[in-house]
């Protein structure tokens, strides 16, 4: 109960006072800048929790309970607004999942990825090489100066240092921090203490994805949370990557991550990378599965996931692409969980380079890539920003602001430049919060009042990287009731969530398309979210199709998914 109120209060304060408030509740006793030993920090976590409880009782809980916990309550407790609508969103396009020569299965220089990202119009990127023993020991120290060098070279590109964490017991995840004095130390300690590959190498868990790793994943997220609480970093974020690829991110694991560190574990890839992998052989492509989603269930898979969950749907992960599916089951709890779109760029379709000859296991790097001079068509990835991007509404072009935008869910996941921006305003138009909230936010209405959803889509203002100007065909308004915490932590459906209205984009709409929907006489807290499509590949219900293995041209099947707004019904 109490943490719901923290969320409200904090969000409110966060928007008005910046990050200063974050520190108020954690003054003093246990902040220790020298603490790199995860175990020692982990012990202090006990104190941190105690401080939160005490703070909450004293009314200080808002400051420490976590930014971004924009909690909508089933019972309709608060009447505060999170992510208040302003109508002036600055969207910055980015990608939180990019590999370099410091991953054993990738090849490019940091600078190559940065330059490509810039060329494809990105404003921010995260370098996320695979965690593991060699990476932790040898790679980190080599990556850091490369990133710093590229930052100097690209003043208009924010380059975050991160990690693709092997979540113990589960899939991979992006973990990243803003640049700061302790950033590298925190990443290094985190990887040493909590990477699934490292733990498996040390025999502490029976395998990187085996179930006995689950408690380590929660410790890991609390460790990051503690680095924020003790002010070693202003913010730290985790996004679960390719969550459905092997069926090993079970619903309860996702809920546990979210609840262990709500201000750190904030979402997942709505769409995985590797989007070129499904281009058919006959079209000169790799002829694999889109997203490299070509697995069948294994021993560590969650047995209840259906077969179709192992494939992409219109390029998006099944958890996100299913109306009333796993993502909706999380949102129906009234809790934040955001979706993104990334490149997972390792080896780019049509590029001419192969990995360098250095031994990654002993040096932490593949070395300098080798240019063969001939395009390689078996590669299944795009450059950062070439196909997928994550649009973030940010207060400024600043590392922490971009992360706060991500943390607060002001995010749209887009493929192939289907849209350039989105102004979503959800407000209590009768007997409610008249200003309303935007993406990732929450607003309120009195029971029996009306809620108006106003949507302005900024249509693609030019060609995407395929050379064509994409054309948005429709926008679905999706909504479901907020029913409170899931009784069964492994539930992955929200049967009451449906498409409530589909808006067709008129051929006359040039730069923008606007739509409106009003929920009248609202009786129950709910949420709304949007998705849109180029209309090329739809089933009879307007849903995306399961991508056909080796026959999925990504440019002919474009979608966007926007993050939700929660509406609290009060009194």
């Amino acid at each position: 109960m109490s943490h719901e109120h923290h969320g409200h209060d904090h969000h409110h304060g966060h928007d008005q006072h910046g990050h200063d408030l974050v520190h108020d509740g954690v003054e003093g006793t246990w902040a220790d800048p020298e603490a790199d030993d995860p175990l020692s920090v982990s012990r202090r976590a006990f104190l941190a929790s105690a401080a939160v409880v005490a703070g909450a009782a004293a009314g200080l809980g808002s400051a420490v309970a976590g930014v971004g916990r924009g909690v909508a309550s089933a019972s309709g407790g608060g009447d505060r607004t999170a992510n208040p609508w302003s109508g002036r969103s600055l969207f910055l396009a980015g990608d939180h999942h990019i590999h370099t020569q410091f991953s054993p299965d990738a090849q490019y220089e940091v600078e190559t990825q940065a330059a490509q990202a810039r060329q494809f119009g990105l404003d921010w990127i995260v370098i996320t090489d695979h965690g593991g023993t060699a990476h932790q020991k040898f790679s980190i120290d080599q990556i850091t100066p490369k990133i710093e060098e590229s930052r100097r070279r690209h003043r208009d590109l924010l380059i975050f240092q991160g990690l693709e964490w092997n979540i113990p017991g589960a899939e991979h995840a992006t973990v990243f921090l803003p640049p700061g004095r302790s950033t590298v130390d925190i990443l290094r300690a985190f990887e040493a203490g909590y990477d699934g590959g490292v733990l498996a190498d040390q025999g502490k868990i029976s395998g990187a994805t085996a179930g006995d790793g689950e408690p380590f994943a929660l410790e890991a997220l609390k460790y990051l949370d503690n680095q924020v609480r003790n002010r070693r970093t202003e913010i730290a974020l985790m996004f679960a990557n390719h969550p459905s690829r092997q069926g090993i991110d079970s619903p309860h694991e996702i809920r546990n991550w979210r609840d262990a560190a709500p201000s750190v574990a904030v979402g997942m890839e709505g769409a995985p990378g590797h989007q070129a992998a499904g281009i058919p052989l006959t079209a000169g492509g790799p002829g694999r599965a889109r997203g490299y989603y070509d697995r069948a269930p294994g021993a560590n898979s969650f047995p209840a996931y259906p077969a179709e969950s192992y494939r992409t749907h219109g390029g998006f992960d099944w958890m996100t692409a299913t109306v009333g599916g796993l993502w909706d089951s999380l949102l129906a709890e009234g809790l934040p969980w955001w979706v993104t779109s990334t490149s997972d760029s390792h080896q780019v379709f049509g590029d001419t380079r192969t990995p360098g000859t250095q031994d990654h296991a002993t040096t932490g790097s593949r070395g300098t890539p080798v240019d063969t001079g001939a395009p390689i068509t078996s590669y299944g990835d795009f450059w950062p920003g070439q196909y997928g991007s994550t649009l973030v509404a940010s207060r400024s072009r600043d590392y922490v602001d971009v992360m706060k935008g991500l943390q607060s869910g002001q995010v749209v996941a887009v493929h192939g430049r289907l849209i350039d921006g989105l102004d979503l305003r959800v407000r209590g138009s009768r007997r409610g919060d008249e200003r309303g909230a935007t993406l990732g936010g929450r607003t309120w209405v009195q029971r029996g009042g009306d809620v108006e959803v106003a949507i302005t889509v900024q249509l693609a203002g030019g060609p995407n990287a395929s050379g064509a100007v994409p054309r948005l065909a429709k926008v679905d308004l999706i909504s479901g009731p907020v029913t409170g915490p899931a009784g069964d932590r492994d539930v992955f459906s929200a049967p009451q969530t449906t498409v409530v209205e589909t808006f067709q984009v008129s051929p006359r709409d040039r730069r923008t398309a606007t739509f409106r929907h009003t929920f009248r006489n609202v009786q129950q807290s709910f949420y709304v979210r949007l998705r849109g499509s180029d209309g090329n590949q739809l089933d009879a219900q307007g849903n995306p199709l399961i991508d056909v293995v080796a026959d999925a041209d990504p440019w002919q099947d474009l979608w966007f998914y926007a993050n939700p707004v929660f509406v609290d019904v009060v009194r």
Partner: protein, 189 residues
């Protein structure tokens, strides 16, 4: 009569398909019986899932006890036969699931060796132990072509040995489980 269903709990080294089949065949060599059906099963009763294996033999080995011991040795754990013996959870699960056809993934099954690369769904059902071909997105005609790529891992479901297939390029279907899915990170994690 000694039961034809045997089951064990293979150690991690023996779990991969090729290792499992090699181990089973080695243990049964010269015994007078062979394993015509080899299925893997997952015991989820512990925090970490464990794999069990069930075998259906072509007949009774000449020296059942010696054969059982040989099999136990290569699998790295006791072997259960229907109606006798005790063994860890994964073996029990394997035996139960395989005999009832409730679940399990068949690494070897009768008729498997004779399947060509491309085969009609109807022919697959006629010529092998597979009883049903099911499509990921709907029914599969008997005339539909399955591109097996020489790799089939049908599963038990509701007492029937079922092959799940999905659409692939060129108007054919392919098995949902393929031999070489994309390996991320070199397959390390």
């Amino acid at each position: 009569m000694t039961a034809r269903w045997w089951a064990g709990a293979p150690g991690p080294d023996v779990v991969p398909d090729a290792h499992l089949l090699a181990a089973v065949d080695w243990a049964l060599a010269g015994s007078g019986a062979a394993a015509e059906l080899v299925c893997t099963h997952v015991d989820r009763s512990a925090a970490t899932p464990r794999t069990g294996v069930a075998l259906r033999l072509t007949g009774t080995p000449a020296a059942p006890e010696a054969t059982r011991e040989a099999l136990a040795r290569v699998l790295g754990g006791p072997v259960l036969t229907a109606g006798s013996g005790s063994a860890p959870g994964p073996a029990q699960v394997a035996l139960r699931e395989a005999r009832s056809g409730a679940a399990g993934r068949c690494v070897r099954f009768p008729g498997q060796a004779a399947v060509p690369g491309q085969v009609r769904a109807g022919d697959l059902v006629e010529s092998t132990a597979i009883e049903e071909v099911v499509g990921l997105t709907g029914p599969v005609d008997a005339d539909a072509v399955i591109d097996t790529a020489g790799f089939l891992r049908p599963q038990w479901a509701g007492g029937r040995l079922t092959l799940l297939v999905e659409r692939a390029a060129g108007g054919v279907f392919q098995p949902f489980e393929v031999e070489f899915p994309h390996e991320c990170c070199g397959g390390a994690h």
